[in-house]
Assembly symmetry: C2
């Protein structure tokens, strides 16, 4: 990109987020706290949600399309705010784009390693994320208990996060963790922080829940600083785009995001 006196500084360009739907807003929420001046474009690939029950090749294709859309909007950095997309497509997206691309998985793995003392840990994720074995491969020297929790996303999206059935379903999923002696558990899906109180109650206070969004925000800050791309002052602008059903996105955003999402653009 060529810059002259009239062009805006590269730091003014937005950070691009993508997820299959609204879940990535839990990551954006943290980013806003850590980087309050950054402009953001959030893309929810709602025409293809949920990624969690699609095939590997479909997830790679959808992720590349989402990332290309964000790159075409002039993003200075892309954040894949979806564990399923990261599991299958982080490297493909990084290879396909000339701008930095960050995901949620390495940071989550780093925090998990830092938290455990017993080296016995658990990872919860969508069916696709767990089937990818990405965490199993990144955590080979640990005793890892990976658990697919496919009903958590629909439960959260239907507003059941505080309902007794969510606790029953969580108990069903987390039963294999009983007596394993784990001391750290990664919430490996951006929807799961909304079920954190229930999960914590079931696994007990001795297990530290790792929710990587805050660490992802700090990793993003570090990278922007290193590349001299940090936007340090001024009011930010946030733009929300989806590939289907903007009304539903706007409605669901309220569950995930404390700020108003007034305008959602269908692209």
């Amino acid at each position: 990109m060529l810059l002259d006196k009239n062009s805006k500084s590269l730091s003014e360009y937005p950070i691009g987020f993508f997820d299959s739907g609204v879940g990535g807003l839990t990551v954006m929420r943290e980013l806003i706290q850590v980087l309050p001046h950054e402009n953001v474009i959030y893309f929810g690939d709602t025409a293809h949600l949920p990624y969690g029950n699609k095939s590997p090749s479909a997830i790679v294709e959808y992720s590349l399309n989402s990332a290309h859309f964000l790159a075409a909007q002039g993003c200075k950095l892309i954040l894949i705010a979806c564990h399923t997309a990261c599991a299958y497509a982080l490297e493909s997206v990084q290879a396909a784009l000339p701008i930095p691309v960050l995901g949620v998985k390495e940071v989550g793995v780093r925090d998990l390693k830092a938290a455990t003392k017993t080296n016995r840990i658990a990872v919860l994720g969508t069916a696709a994320t767990i089937a990818s074995a990405v965490f199993q491969n990144l955590l080979k020297s640990y005793q890892l208990f990976p658990i697919a929790c496919p009903l958590f996303v629909p439960l959260v999206e239907e507003g059941f996060q505080d309902h007794e059935v969510s606790k029953k379903i969580a108990e069903h999923y987390l039963l294999p963790l009983k007596n394993t002696g784990i001391d750290a558990l990664l919430l490996g899906c951006t929807h799961y922080p909304l079920l954190a109180p229930i999960i914590q109650e079931i696994v007990g206070a001795s297990v530290q829940l790792i929710e990587p969004s805050r660490s992802v925000a700090f990793a993003t800050k570090d990278l922007l600083e290193k590349k001299n791309l940090l936007r340090q002052t001024g009011m930010p602008t946030y733009r929300f785009c989806v590939s289907d059903n903007p009304e539903k996105f706007r409605h669901l955003a309220k569950i995930f995001f404390p700020y108003s999402v007034d305008k959602v653009q269908l692209v």
Copy 2:
């Protein structure tokens, strides 16, 4: 279509089914009972499942693509085995294709009308089906209670159909039916027959559950007879195609379908 002595009889051509996933297999199961000699191609548009939380325009687009795929395979008749697709796209698909296209909604409505004596009835469906108001429009002279049950599909697909949480969630959804005096209830989604025992228990024995699959099979038989397209003898062939994740389809098919689904083709 031109026929000469060497071409096969039109009755040999298959019936085409489509649904966003496996749900339509509950309709195919009934059709096989009523029409045991018919060849069938089943298409699950799994790249876009579930239709139930997509926008109207997306549902129409996906349905047209699915129907065109089946027409291109030489189907003599298409059956839209998905209430959400029927709610939004039945007329568009009928207008777009030169072959007969049947849906599940009119038959369901007819059975519902025949069953009720109090004229107080309920319809359960996906969020999109209920939002379409299709049943509200077809049943204007009845006191209708339409209820969206968005968690029923994931519960069934995750094997929770006999689990206590499905009963709790069904109780939550069906609470508004208490003291309404309904005497008939349409299972307006092809997944819901698997939850029929739970639903029946909650609404009570005085409410007749309408599951239109069997009636759809007879309506198909009538139409084929009228058009002289019935295949009356011989072993049938069944072909299963999907737009994503054939392995998952094969696995899920076991819940819905008592026959073996060995080969699933990705198209």
